[in-house]
């Protein structure tokens, strides 16, 4: 019995060590999302989103800001982790709270995995992420410039 206990503790320690090593390696989802943004793109930034299920779907929960500049075409790529229940969606609003782009078509329910956006009005934009229908999920949004 005592011997079994000691073996169990040893195996537990080994498993914890393995988990620790994996947790500290670079995020493969981010890397793959960046690399798959397309051949004519240049990485700018990424947003890593992990959310639980919400009982009141509506307003998108993960909020961020970034400046977007006139005469620049941006690509917003949305990538979901394999175990994500929901699919990542994005809406971008300008400083007047007007929706400029949305990856989720509420009428058809269609979700677009990427949006190419040609900006002609420089300013601070508000990026809002969530998972479709308020589901739980894990994903990455990558913003790239299109050359």
């Amino acid at each position: 019995m005592i011997r079994m206990k000691k073996y169990f503790i040893t195996i537990l320690l080994l498993l914890m060590a393995i988990a620790l090593v994996n947790g500290q390696s670079s995020d493969p989802l981010v890397s793959s999302c960046v690399m798959n943004a397309g051949p004519n793109t240049r990485y700018l930034k990424d947003f890593r989103i992990q959310l639980g299920k919400t009982t009141t779907p509506g307003e998108l929960r993960y909020k961020a800001q970034m400046s977007l500049w006139k005469n620049t075409t941006y690509k917003f790529s949305l990538c979901n982790s394999e175990d994500s229940k929901g699919k990542l969606i994005l809406s971008v609003k300008d400083n007047a709270n007007k929706t400029v782009i949305s990856s989720f078509d509420q009428k058809t329910g269609k979700i677009y995995p990427y949006i190419t956006f040609t900006c002609n009005k420089s300013g601070i934009y508000h990026l809002n992420f969530d998972f479709a229908n308020g589901q739980s999920g894990s994903g990455v949004g990558v913003v790239s410039m299109v050359r």
Binding site: S67, K70, I115
Partner: protein
């Protein structure tokens, strides 16, 4: 049996200790020289969330460099802060600001794929990052390898930018927000210098607009610095410099026209063109004033005196 158990236990301990190559333990604490520490209360004139949001608004130097490349402006090492000597940056203020300046130069080199020339800058960045104890967030070896191989520019850009993002986050999370602000200001200033110097040699309406549009985020930049302006003479001087730049932008006007975006589906994604526009109204005199003040301040900051 006993030896076997000791072996397993030792292996576990060694595996845990060496599992972290480029990550700092989230629970570790750093001890800073007193002059670099500020009471939390003093720094919280803006919430940390507000500061984080502001920091994300600042233009990436990669975007400026990309614009220059689009304009077919040839690469020139003359634009770089080559005279900066990392060894002569003695205070945390100097190190953080220089880290930002060199980060912008690195972005410029990467976009122009002059990655072989970036090794010296990488070494300086590493030295400066270690000087303010954030060296663990800069994956020097991988970035250097990617630079020398010229194999994957996207990986290089991602790692370089991500390193700076992590450094920024770490500094703000650990009550070293003043160094984060300095780094961001350094990046912006160097990118602004690059844009304005190119504008002198290669006048272009797109670049002119981009320079004028910096008015949009200039207030945010000043807000990043403002909690620390009374810290010491160095910060006070920097705050005055930023105000001087802001003064040059005072009469630059930015106007907007309204419109609805044009959207179409293509290849499984969405393609959106914005019909709203922003327009910069800036005289030649105003532009020259901005160019001159930017150069003066930037040259002052990179002098090794």
């Amino acid at each position: 049996m006993m030896k076997g158990k000791i072996f397993i236990l030792t292996s576990v301990i060694l595996l845990v200790c060496f599992s972290c190559r480029n990550s700092a333990s989230k629970t570790s604490e750093f001890v800073f020289p007193e002059s670099d520490s500020i009471p939390v209360g003093e720094a919280e004139k803006l919430s940390s969330e507000a500061i984080e949001e502001i920091s994300k608004n600042i233009t990436s130097p990669v975007e400026i460099a990309n614009l220059l490349q689009t304009m077919s402006v040839p690469y020139s090492p003359d634009y770089l802060a080559s005279s900066l000597d990392a060894n002569r940056q003695t205070t945390a203020f100097d190190k953080a600001l220089t880290l930002g300046i060199l980060g912008a130069d690195l972005g410029y080199l990467n976009i122009y794929e002059k990655t072989g020339s970036s090794i010296d800058i990488l070494s300086s960045i590493r030295k400066l990052a270690e000087g303010i104890r954030v060296g663990q967030y800069f994956d020097f070896e991988t970035i250097k390898r990617l630079s020398l191989n010229r194999s994957n520019l996207d990986s290089l850009l991602f790692l370089s930018i991500d390193s700076y993002t992590q450094i920024d986050k770490y500094l703000r999370d650990n009550d070293r927000g003043q160094l984060s602000s300095l780094m961001i200001i350094g990046v912006w200033l160097e990118a602004q210098y690059l844009a304005t110097q190119v504008m002198k040699e290669y006048p272009d309406p797109m670049l002119r607009d981009r320079i004028g549009e910096q008015k949009i985020i200039l207030n945010d930049l000043i807000m990043l610095a403002s909690p620390y302006c009374t810290n010491d003479t160095e910060f006070n001087s920097l705050c005055r410099d930023l105000q001087e730049i802001k003064d040059k932008y005072r009469d630059v006007k930015i106007t907007y026209t309204l419109g609805e975006p044009v959207t179409e589906e293509k290849d499984g994604g969405l393609v959106v063109s914005q019909t709203e526009t922003s327009n910069v109204d800036m005289t030649e005199e105003q532009l020259n004033g901005i160019i001159e003040v930017t150069k003066n301040i930037r040259d002052k900051l990179i002098s090794n005196d």
